[in-house]
């Protein structure tokens, strides 16, 4: 196991990056007072110093506290949306691929139509039409509403390739029923692929949520990464030279995406034996 990890470097890099973030969040929650992530907590516009290692913003938030409090929120939105997306997508994909015919045509049709509509546009419309500001959980549901489209398609393709395998036919000849074959024969072979899809789905969900938040359509009162960037743009922080305000969330966002990306690449290698470079 360890020797495999030595060779599958992507997996290690991804895990390390995310590990650092998790450590940051856990240790941070114990050490930093997250109340200071709310406005009017500390002096405004302080560059990074010993008291405020990440500096403070124009509304009096301690940016270190914002990062510690906000990163888990952003990740939470991503995970919830990603899980719902892959969960719903997997169920629809297996059903469509195994049964074929009308069922497949209907599911595939809906997914295809959904995929051609610009996702961000739909999310914006949904977010705008919801009364009042969103909570973090509502945000997750909004993003999840579209997150299942891509997984449905990609998982369906994978299942279709497996469906013709000899062992599925043998299972039929052994008396297994359709759902049983899906669960007992097809699902276990797809677990690595589902894991890789999950990670990339989480990544896409985080991106979508940040996108909405930057436009101001997210949970206004929460110190998520995207909302922080919203305030950065709202206050023209870049032009004003308050570099510490946008550096912190940027670094964290980059780490999140790189970590998830490397994790996906690493999982892809496990899922697809042909990508494996060594035995």
């Amino acid at each position: 196991m360890l020797s495999y990890l030595r060779r599958n470097r992507s997996l290690v890099v991804g895990a390390v990056l995310l590990g650092i973030l998790i450590l940051f969040m856990v240790v941070g929650a114990l050490v930093v007072d997250t109340e200071n992530a709310q406005p009017l907590s500390v002096p405004t516009l302080q560059p990074p110093s010993w008291d405020y290692p990440f500096g403070t913003d124009r509304q009096g938030r301690d940016l270190l506290a914002v990062m510690v409090a906000g990163t888990p929120l952003t990740l939470w939105i991503g995970f919830v949306a990603g899980f719902i997306g892959v969960g719903v997508g997997a169920v629809l994909a297996f059903t469509a691929a195994y049964y074929g015919g009308l069922v497949d045509a209907v599911i595939r049709g809906i997914a295809d139509i959904g995929l051609t509509v610009p996702g961000l546009l739909v999310l914006i419309i949904i977010a705008v039409s919801l009364k009042g500001s969103l909570t973090v959980n509502q945000m997750a549901i909004v993003v999840a509403s579209l997150a299942w489209l891509n997984p449905t398609r990609t998982i369906r393709s994978q299942v279709l390739t497996l469906r013709q395998r000899g062992y599925v036919e043998i299972a039929r000849l052994s008396g297994m029923s359709g759902p049983e074959i899906i669960v007992r024969e097809l699902m276990p072979n797809l677990l690595p692929y589902l894991a890789a899809t999950l990670v990339s789905s989480v990544s896409a969900a985080i991106l979508a949520s940040i996108g909405l938040e930057v436009l101001g359509l997210g949970p206004i009162d929460s110190p998520t990464l995207g909302m922080t960037l919203y305030w950065v743009f709202f206050n023209a922080a870049i032009i004003n030279g308050w570099w510490w305000w946008w550096s912190a969330p940027l670094v964290v966002i980059v780490m999140v995406f790189l970590g998830l990306f490397f994790l996906t690449v690493g999982l892809d290698e496990i899922a697809n034996p042909r990508l494996r470079r060594t035995v």
Binding site: G166, Y167, E169, I170, A171, R172, L173, E185, P188, N189
Partner: protein, 335 residues
């Protein structure tokens, strides 16, 4: 006789191309039945594209015919109810060509043996099930201790194929459809596996449909033979006369092309590189046939019964009576 499984003028074609306008015939309709009272080993010999795999899949109920019907104990296979389907699966089993593909890499090889025991309630308890599985493995020459608990990639192709034979034996079906069971297995193991199949027939009265492109093993293993060429039956009958005195020009070509281990180095029959244009209605072999007549280019010969146990689809034998409904089963009744 109520046939166990019967092809009644059944054939299969696939549509393709834009707007589904192209039609490709995978198997021309013909009739054929397996009589449970007279089990035998029937070889179906043909090259790729001959329709032999389509025939196997029709008999196993994996695909449905476009023309005619496939019947199990008198009822159409695709219209069986749950109980009927269970009986069908219990009575007709298969061994496939690829010993790699038929195993789910996620499970140990025990899975392919325990699943049928479980689904068909072949044992009263776990211990009894295990005993049955071990007996089946031993019957095909495998040591249970070397096989059970292993993953597929840890075993050789020959071992995996033998496990499949053991699996078929567990179910005690009436018919085993073996689709190229040894073509992906080493030459030295073929005899063992084919021997196990023959034993299943001799000791348990199971009918075997041995589908292959290898005429030599078909000759050694089977009692009757069906030769397919380009989706249609070319010749059928008892194996000895068909191989020793082939009547259809294609069968003659096939036998002549098999490399023989003799000290005289030659490939006996001369091949014709004919390039006559044949219409779609003509005999499928007419473009390569050394005995082709003008008639062969425009009409397809029916099956003629040239002897009580021989049928040939060739105009050279048109003086013989035609087989009604293309019922090949009538000439495949020796034993």
């Amino acid at each position: 006789m109520t046939a166990l499984i019967e092809l009644r003028a059944a054939g299969k074609s696939f549509t393709g191309g834009t707007l589904g306008r192209e039609r490709k015939v995978a198997l021309e309709p013909f009739s054929f039945a397996i009589d449970p009272a007279r089990p035998g080993i029937t070889a179906v010999v043909g090259e790729s594209g001959s329709g032999k795999t389509t025939l196997a899949r029709l008999l196993l109920g994996l695909i449905r015919p476009n023309v005619g019907e496939v019947l199990f104990k008198g009822r159409a296979v695709h219209r069986l109810n749950a109980a009927g389907r269970r009986d069908f699966r219990r009575s007709v089993q298969a061994i496939f060509q690829d010993p790699y593909e038929v195993y789910n890499p996620f499970y140990r090889v025990d899975h392919v043996l325990t699943t049928p025991v479980r689904k068909f309630a072949l044992a009263g308890s776990a211990a009894e099930g295990r005993a049955r599985i071990e007996a089946a493995l031993e019957a095909v020459g495998l040591q249970p201790s070397e096989i059970l608990g292993r993953y597929p990639h840890q075993l050789s192709g020959g071992q995996r194929q033998r496990i499949m034979v053991a699996r078929a034996l567990l179910l005690r079906p009436k018919l085993i459809v073996a689709d190229e069971p040894v073509s992906m297995v080493d030459a030295s193991l073929r005899a063992t596996i084919l021997g196990s199949l023959r034993k299943l027939h001799e000791e348990h009265g199971i009918s075997i449909l041995y589908i292959t492109h290898d005429l030599a093993t078909a000759y050694q293993v089977a009692d009757r033979i069906l030769v397919l060429y380009r989706a249609a039956v070319a010749e059928a009958g008892d194996v000895e006369p068909v191989v020793k005195t082939p009547q259809h020009p294609y069968t003659q070509l096939l036998i002549g092309s098999i490399p023989k281990v003799s000290t005289v180095r030659d490939w006996a029959v001369e091949q014709k590189q004919a390039d006559r244009t044949v219409t779609a209605a003509g005999c499928t072999f007419a473009d390569r046939c050394p005995s082709a007549m003008a008639r062969c280019l425009t009409a397809t010969p029916p099956l003629y019964q040239t002897a009580p146990n021989r049928a040939v689809a060739c105009f050279l034998y048109e003086t013989a009576p035609t087989l009604a409904q293309g019922d090949v089963g009538r000439v495949l009744v020796s034993v």
